[in-house]
Amino acid sequence: MKTFPRRDLLKAGGSLLIGLAVAWKAGGQASDYVAFATGPDQPDMKELDTWLAIHADNTATIFIGFTELGQGCSTALLQIAAEELDLEMTQVKTERLETHRTPNQGGTVSSASVARGGPKIRAAAAEARQALLKMASARLKAPLEVLVVSKGIVSISGDPKRSLPYGALVGDKAFHLPFTGMAPVKNPGDYKLVGTRIPRNDVPEKASGKYVHMQHVRLPGMLHGRVVRPRGQSAYGAGAKILSVDEGSIKDIPDVQVLRKGDFLGVVAPRQWDAVRAAQKLKVTWDTKPSLPGSTGIHEQMRAAKTMDSVLLETGDVSVLDRARHVVRQTYKGPYQAHAPFGPNCAIADVKSNAVVVTCSTQNIYETRRKIGEITGIPVENVTIRYFEGSGTYGHSCYDDVAQAAAILSQLARKPVRVQFMRWDEIGWDNYGPAHLADIRASADENGQLVAYECHGWQHTWSVTETSQQLALGTGPAETPGTGAQGLNPVNLGSMYVIPNRKLVNHRVPGIQGYLKGSFLRSPLDLSFAFASEQTIDELAYLAGLDPYEFRLRNMKDERWLAVLNAVAKAANWKPRSAGWRPSGHGQGIALGTHFSSYAAAVAEIEVDRSTGKIVAKHMYGALDAGLAVNPGFLENQISGQLVQATSRMLKEEVTFNQTRVTSLDWNTYPILRFEECPEVTPIVVQRLNEKYSGGGEEVLSPAAAALANALFDATGIRLREYPLTPERVRVALRVVA
């Protein structure tokens, strides 16, 4: 039975929430669950004018449904549009995302801005060009075939004096044409802009300090708000129940109002510092009961849970597994990890009696509109969401939670309210990337050919009720419904190898009682999958007496997987492990992985201090094939960032909690990789001019993480089955071996 999402309808707050994702196909590529909030007052996706406008000054505005997150999508999508329209980059711009105005393309998730957004923009631009040429043909009285375009000026081939700019053809008026998606697009061989390293349009202002992040937005007359919550969440199902609030405890702080709705508590004040200190000083008694197993008990609790089980994939017969020459069988554990955006989330809400405007850093404006409608009771057609880029969030951090908090406080205060989460709110009340447990076994024959592979994985899925709503309205905690639930990712569990007998079983843990809130964190769960799977492959290579790179080559056929593996091995100057290999404290590791689309491989070079157990990542290499690379420079920047972030997540990051609440609350208790710990990085882009665009924002994380684990074995002869690979874990393992 396949439980990957097909189409799922959930009646919610007067609008429909539709989950769409491509069903996973054996050997193919899939995509994540993506929430498309439908509802009234959305631009008509079947109108050409929804996608772009041509102005009288011969420039164009492209309406993009994806958020700039520092990944460069607002430039890359303009590159695609300018290419098809035959405009220069200086002639195209985009507009801030806003409900009612910009197209609903779902969330900016799954590295999909170019993969999913690119084809639409390309088709719309091509169709607009076609329409413009028809107009020019009539005005110039010349057949279409003789028209050429350069910099938005249509002229007759061989007679450049007879010309008309786009601006004169339609200038600032609507096309009033349906968007059919049928216009022919350019041949990639003719590209002048796509595939080149145009610099990002957001970088100069980010460097000068003129860029307006969400945290910089100011509204006249706004109050500053802060939420008041326990430091660190309890179990998702436990919420946070208020027993008493002592307003007298902050009577020395001027002009502060304490506002409460249900168990949602906040303070507002004209001055930010007053709100900040009032939120810290306000004496609140919370009904605190143990609701969690503690971070060290989480995996056993998951194994013991009454799970919903499904076989995601079964090929051949894995009962032959144990009869092969080389067999490995291990259990792997991954921790909860936090988004931990560098600047905590921020939002401003201005709630009027029957309308609300919220500015925030959501990755999905229409979905946030639905949530703001729910929390305020205002019909969604009267809810406006305006996007401002925040600090890099890497998935579903607290952007919706803070937006709802601002809306609640604004509704209660009857004034615009700006809420910024404190560091402990952001890390302590995050929707974490869930913990994972895997039992994996695999085997290979005497020639080093893979025979069978079986993986059982346990994890809970995404929490859908935001904390503010849960506390304010008493809305029950809920998880993504069955068909939309995130489970094992078959693509990262052996699909890159030829394995005749393979079985993947998903054990969905009910994640409400006894678990933390969870949601998608960059390359959801893939680090855990690759950590387990690619160490298993490495171990078989060792048992078969083969170099791990060579072993992988023997078991692969797919040309695109082979290309990234060979590219990264070459860049890293991979040295095959010799027969006389002994752990030297210096190690190299190699691994494959992706998210859903694209193909990636990584090599890690590390040094291990045997006395302290500290792993130093010296150099990380990552190769990525993301299909047609619209801007290889952006992909290189993404690969570099992922190599560093993977090092951070694999070596350092873990959300800790006791039986009552989360104890990771700041950068000391949730440490991330620091400057001096940062490896050198080498990004490699495998350009595929004739393939579809696919994701580049998360695909290198999982192979990079697994390569580090494999490098640890090469350096020390030990394998860790649980990450992060902390000095303590390394030390303990080395002691056991000794």
Binding site: L69, G70, Q71, P199, R200, D202, V203, P204, K206, A207, S208, G209, K210, Y211, V212, H213, Q215, H216, R218, H224, P254, R271, Q272, W273, V276, A340, P341, F342, G343, P344, E389, G390, S391, G392, Y394, Q420, M422, R423, G633, N637, S640, G641, Q642, L643, V644, Q645, S648, D666, W667, N668, I672, L673, R674, F675, E676, C678, E680, V681
Partner: protein, 169 residues
């Protein structure tokens, strides 16, 4: 509660109405409406809010505004002028060489940490124009970046230092 503090920020005198214990960050962000220093942790752990106080990098989130009375505060906005003054240039460039290097290296992703990165790098180069790669990494170690742009930041700082040295020849 109006105070009557006067502080000097980016070579201009400001009268402040915030209470003296208010962290400098909130004064800069809310009273002066500056966008350089920004909230990251409020705990002096990340470097997001950094400013220069008499040329030395300070965390404005834990520095009471009263502590900078009589001193000279420079934010990201005032950095090119501060650089010009220290180097005896007649006019301030549009950008400090470190800012220009961040653009040249296309180092930035979300950009939120770049206030602190820029301030700290400017301080470092002003004190140690020939900082080695290891010295740069050590100096920058108190500044975090979630996007993982450290390698390009380090390259950009080296580039800026080189350019400054060449300009002085």
């Amino acid at each position: 509660m109006a105070s009557e503090l006067k502080i000097r920020v980016n070579d201009r005198q400001w009268s402040i109405t915030s209470s003296p214990d208010t962290p400098l960050l909130y004064v800069l962000a809310d009273e002066l409406e500056l966008n350089g220093p920004r909230f990251g942790c409020g705990l002096a752990q990340c470097g997001s809010c950094s400013v220069l106080v008499d040329g030395v990098e300070r965390r404005s989130c834990v520095t009471p505004v009263s502590a900078v009375v009589g001193k000279s505060v420079t934010t990201l906005e005032g950095l090119p002028a501060w650089y010009a003054k220290r180097n005896g240039l007649a006019t301030a460039p549009n950008l400090h060489p470190v800012q220009q290097a961040f653009i040249d290296e296309q180092a930035i992703q979300c950009g939120y940490c770049y206030n602190g990165m820029t301030i700290k790098a400017a301080e470092l180069i002003s004190q140690k124009p020939r900082a080695t790669g290891a010295e740069i990494r050590a100096a920058m170690n108190g500044h975090l970046c979630r996007c993982g742009t450290y390698p390009r930041i380090a390259k950009a700082i080296e580039r800026a230092a080189r350019q400054i040295a060449e300009a002085r020849k």
